[in-house]
Symmetry: C2
Subunit: 742 residues, 2 copies
């Protein structure tokens, strides 16, 4: 079908050459690659001439002012450290915060003459530094007021000049290098690159012009400066707590945090924007998509890593990620939140870990958690796929949100636990807490997802034979029952539920829910009449291995006789609400006279649940049933967190900085079986780096004692934190408060 | 340091077992995996009993109504096809649009008795279908008005019932399977799964309740039904156009588009949400991050694939992606936009390709494109890293944006060309065009990025000796000079610039720019006085291989003498504005008396630029200079797109459906050198599938003639589109209009 003349040669297309394809470059598309690593840097030349070389080469620039010594004033006693609140960083470099003045001393070969000599201190970050990109900032000593990167000479003494520099309050955060450049009529002569003139510039919650400005000293002390955290877990009516060592000032942590941004290939020029930094980090803290910091695992099998329940702090995790350049195994939500918190505080972003009790896990901004019952009122486990986490931890961080209209700054939710993909990646936030409270779901990022976590309805559907579902009960107050965080400066918990929601049944609450629906959230509109029979499950305290007599109370509030055919189910559940195994099932039938109530007692034997126990040892009791006379559905749920044996931490020695002390962890196996593969971990904020012991076997009724020396690094009240964890028994924590004298 | 009793065995932790790590599952974290493929499906059981088996097993359900035959009424003449405007899909299955009624015929073993018999048609999509997730929808014939998935019987005739079904206007878009279920007192009996009962449900711009509703028939005919597109390229003052075959109705294209969503693992339950679908697709159309459809390549070396300039339509690209399951090589912006457009129109989302002339490529919502001059006024190419694309193509698609406050629905920008990562991935949009126009940058997605593409200022900086930069000229009108798209129903271009921006220098424009700055965009505030000398470069028409005398006009508007020291630079540039090679450089010095103007003539010889030509053969002339008397900077830029030799397409034969016709492509090598590795492509919307010829060599002045038979599939006016492409000469297009009679 092709006509050819003699000098047109038609043939099959050439074979595609084998071997690897050529690397696709940015040639033709962009003028330069994007600088996306804080470790890359290009040297600024030592000599830069303005003039052409003469017959004897370039004129010597050494005849002008010569730099002999630069002192970055980064030592512990230097005011740069204390005035910038960076004295706790365990780092042999200058660490300062942006938007605030710091000083360096420059010693010349002769006294500085302001009218003749001209010099600049230059700050450089990343490869291809550029003034217009904010990656190359020359600072001169000038008299007039400057807007960005101001410089002034505060003191001259003999050959030494003290230069004070104020980095722009919106400047890039990360590791810079400082040069001193002498400007002569013939050219510029610079100091050579030397590690001692590296410096770190961080976010500054103390600077009014910084987007992370937080105008409350006690909040700042807690959310930036405190290395010790308390994380709330357990269940809503039986709240448990554990101590965590954020360790944001430990050796290597600041570099490890910057490594996370480098690993994400985040462009250097975006790193002054706190919104972008926290969003990027929420993606990078989990390993999904991007080989980030922590591998999530909720399976119960942690053979190839550390059980999520075993960690006592963030230090090991962050250092391991940087050293191995591989994701660290394993994490669940509180580990993600705690390590993310370290990252945020370390970079100077005010941050706290919060816990939401009965957290709905949903997607698509669907405001329903569906529980499917069959026609008899029994839960259809095959069809019930949504789950409500007993609790879920995330982070809040504080910022101005200049990218949104006024009113949505302040605390922002960020969450790095891989629940659902946000916009194609596993990450979440920053979502303005105030926007969530007011149902303003249209502002980035992920407000609908967080809104559903605290506002979903639990909808019980009865499934008809033909596959249709009828909503039979809607519980609008179960989810998001309470949100807690640690009180600044204290060891108590603070209820911040009212920052997320208006009071139940208030006019404001209704308005907010209507607004959410207008923005496309689907919600169960029907409101089935509540049954006139109440079902009550009491709060229960139960230690691992104990039997229990569960009392299920039926209350007839009507003026007729009522018969309830009930299903009582007991399951071992993960903290995510997912059922591991059902160990108890009974079907009591209860008849109640008008106004009468009756208690049905159900025996729960330890031998039935013990073999199924997972993780955090939660039992979940669900009672559902149908009222024979009215067809109405009654339901009740109760999560029981089993009490664990104690882990005792004792401390001895003189509690004084740099003095030797000892900490002892003690534990006795209370069971009649061997505990195998036991890890014990111990650390203390500001006093002890993390370490662990492994015991392959701990026989019944046998004590375990581990003593460790430590030398407190600084004064103040802190804690020694310990954990014990083995496949048969997880989440055993102990701690001891100590106050170190200076 | 550890104390142990006899029955506590402490040892090193167990070695980590070698071999692959266990796959991390969702066990413990979620109750069920997310359904994210439209190809996965689970069979619904044929029999579902409500009763327990009796002594002789289950009661036979066959004694009740029995389904003999189901007719999906998907043939060309069926009204389902025409009323749903899906008659053009080349597919042997029913294709309908949501929110609109369609009919199926069900033939039973006996006449249907409304009072006794009960049946449902059930629609199922993806694995784990669930009523509450919208993935399992049983539809009964009922009399009362239904809100979602309504069903009614429109006709009964002997044993056959015609059932009419209206899918919910917000339902999931994709490939469903339909079952007929007979509901008996003992249980349900269903038809077996069979390919003939598969059906596709698409978005519906004709349905008022669908988010993609577009209330304009000529727009719908263009942006959903038209397979032929015109894409504008070239330069602002010399606009070129080419025809493209979107081919959204070709065999296999609809399945290939659904495959893209499957490949992205987009949850099935999100696929009814047009905002999520287009955002996901904007990420998946390029291969970055996610092994998506098209590999971008701007390098000029396309050895391992097809040159971006060579494609004539989307069909080959989409089919190849699905067949090889690998990204297709290669694309540049118009290829991304064209293939994305096919995807959108194919799924029923109104979409068009638009071209923005002088498109700023920036990141971080920085509203500046920086050009750095040295102290003499000459461009510092090493430091000038931003680029302005001569043109950039993206897509607009039409939707309601329920996720945003009122006023931001309508046309939305989506862009799949990998320019900058949006929120961590290479994708862009949907960004409301109206939000861009009004500077409402706070609404998702990527409004700041698109805003910068049309609104950036070009800032000329003069770099001082000490590294600081001083803005010396700001051009606020160069970028985003015009935005064009094809006029609905016509072959002309439509100027839609006013949908993106208020008029230059209007009050509204100033307000919008202030708002953008308030949302955190940085903009050059200073406004250096314009020089009183103007520099003018004329428009030029130039064919490849021709010499040119470029006239640079200097106009002195002042009342003093002016001397300009100018730099005239000629470069071969990519369409991205990136310089490939400078082939011309002169430094005229011009002295002008008050009010005088003078033309400086510069010889541009073909032999100098020919050896450097890349791609689309653009020459870029930049003149910069400094006025000696005032120190002011003058600049002028002009992009010249070289005229190409002609590619002639001729058509013969009777232009009637299914009649044989022939198309002939002719080309003569006008150069004095051999053209090597020549690809010629040809196709025509609705008349000819794509094919190509390869000519390894075409000698000087030698004609190439290729004749191809074709059989028009449908009536109407269309075009045969052809391209010729070889490394030495790219982007040669030809076309021929034909009108096919029925």
């Amino acid at each position: 079908m092709s006509d050819q003349t003699s000098s047109t040669i038609s043939s099959a297309p050439p074979p595609v050459p084998s071997g690897p394809r050529p690397k696709i470059t940015n040639r033709g598309r962009a003028a330069a690659p994007t600088a996306n690593s804080n470790m890359d840097s290009s040297d600024i030349p030592e000599y830069e001439y303005f003039v052409a070389p003469g017959p004897r080469g370039y004129p010597p620039l050494t005849e002008f002012l010569d730099v002999w010594e630069v002192d970055m004033k980064h030592h512990h006693e230097d005011t740069n450290r204390t005035s910038h609140k960076t004295h706790l960083y365990n780092l042999d470099s200058l660490v300062v915060r942006r938007g605030q003045e710091f000083e360096v001393n420059i010693k010349f070969n002769r006294p500085y003459k302001p009218d003749e000599d001209k010099f600049a201190v230059e700050f450089v970050i990343g490869s291809s530094p550029e003034y217009s990109k904010g990656t190359y900032m020359p600072v001169f000593a000038v008299k007039e007021r400057q807007t960005a990167w101001a410089g002034r000479i505060t003191e001259t003494s003999e050959n030494t000049v003290t230069m004070a520099v104020t980095p722009d309050p919106g400047c890039i955060v990360g590791k810079y290098h400082m040069y001193v450049a002498i400007v002569t009529p013939y050219g510029i002569r610079r100091t050579k690159r030397e590690k001692s003139r590296d410096l770190y510039i961080l976010f500054n919650p103390w600077a009014a012009d910084d987007d992370v400005f937080l105008n409350d000293e006690s909040e700042r002390q807690e959310c930036v400066m405190n290395e010790m955290g308390i994380i709330y877990h357990g269940s809503y009516d039986d709240i448990a707590e554990r101590t965590w060592n954020f360790g944001q000032f430990n050796v290597g942590i600041l570099d490890a945090c910057l490594y996370i941004l480098d690993r994400s290939q985040m462009p250097i020029t975006s790193r002054g924007d706190v919104v972008k930094v926290v969003r990027q980090a929420s993606a990078m803290l989990n390993s999904r998509d991007d080989d980030g910091v922590l591998v999530g695992n909720w399976s119960g099998d942690y053979t190839y890593g550390v059980a999520p329940t075993s960690w006592t702090g963030s230090t090991d995790i962050l250092l391991s990620y940087q050293n191995t350049r591989s994701p660290v195994c394993y994490a669940q939500c509180w580990v993600y939140a705690a390590v993310f918190n370290t990252f945020l505080r370390c970079l100077g972003i005010p941050a706290r870990v919060v816990t939401n009790y009965f957290s709905a896990h949903d997607n698509n901004g669907n405001l329903k958690t569906d529980i499917i019952l069959d026609e008899t009122g029994r839960i259809d486990r095959g069809r019930t796929k949504d789950s409500i986490w007993n609790y879920h931890c995330w982070n809040e961080c504080y910022m101005a949100r200049k990218d949104l209209p006024a009113g949505f700054g302040g605390w922002q939710v960020v969450d790095s636990t891989p629940q659902e993909t946000s916009d194609g990646m596993y990450r979440c936030g920053p979502a303005s807490v105030n926007a969530i409270k007011h149902g303003q779901m249209c502002y980035p990022y992920d407000a609908p997802f967080v809104f559903a976590e605290v506002n979903s309805d639990v909808v019980f559907y009865m499934r008809g034979k033909e596959g249709t579902m009828e909503p039979v009960k809607v519980n609008r107050s179960h989810v998001g029952r309470a949100v807690y965080t640690k009180t600044p400066g204290e060891l108590t918990r603070k209820d911040i539920t009212d920052q997320y929601k208006f009071p139940e049944d208030s006019t404001e609450e209704r308005t907010v829910l209507e607004k959410a629906v207008a923005f496309g959230c689907t919600r169960e509109e029907s409101d089935p009449l509540p049954a006139d029979v109440d079902l009550i499950l009491p709060s229960v305290e139960l230690a691992v291995g104990q039997d229990l007599e569960l009392s299920v109370e039926f209350v007839n509030r009507s003026e007729q006789r009522r018969t309830v055919e009930a299903y009582v189910s007991g399951s071992v559940v993960y903290y995510t609400g997912v059922t591991s195994a059902e160990f108890l099932f009974t079907t009591p039938r209860v008849t109640l006279e008008p106004g009468q109530s009756e208690k049905e007692l159900v025996d729960v034997e330890a031998r039935r649940y013990m073999k199924h126990l997972v993780e955090q040892a939660n039992l979940n009791f669900i009672v559902t049933g149908k009222v024979k006379e009215t067809g109405q559905i009654v339901t009740a749920m109760k999560v029981v967190t089993l009490r664990k044996p104690e882990l005792i931490v004792e401390v001895s020695g003189e509690p004084r900085v740099h003095e030797e002390m000892t900490a002892t962890v003690q534990f006795t196996n209370p069971f009649s079986f061997n505990l195998k593969g036991v890890y014990v971990r111990m650390e203390g904020p500001g006093v002890m780096l993390p370490s662990f012991r492994y015991y392959s076997l701990l026989a019944p009724n046998t004590p375990l004692v581990w003593t460790e020396k430590f030398y407190p690094q600084r004064a103040g009240t802190t804690r020694i934190i310990a954990s014990l964890d083995c496949p048969a028994l997880r989440q055993i924590y102990g701690e001891k408060s100590i106050t170190i004298k200076p």
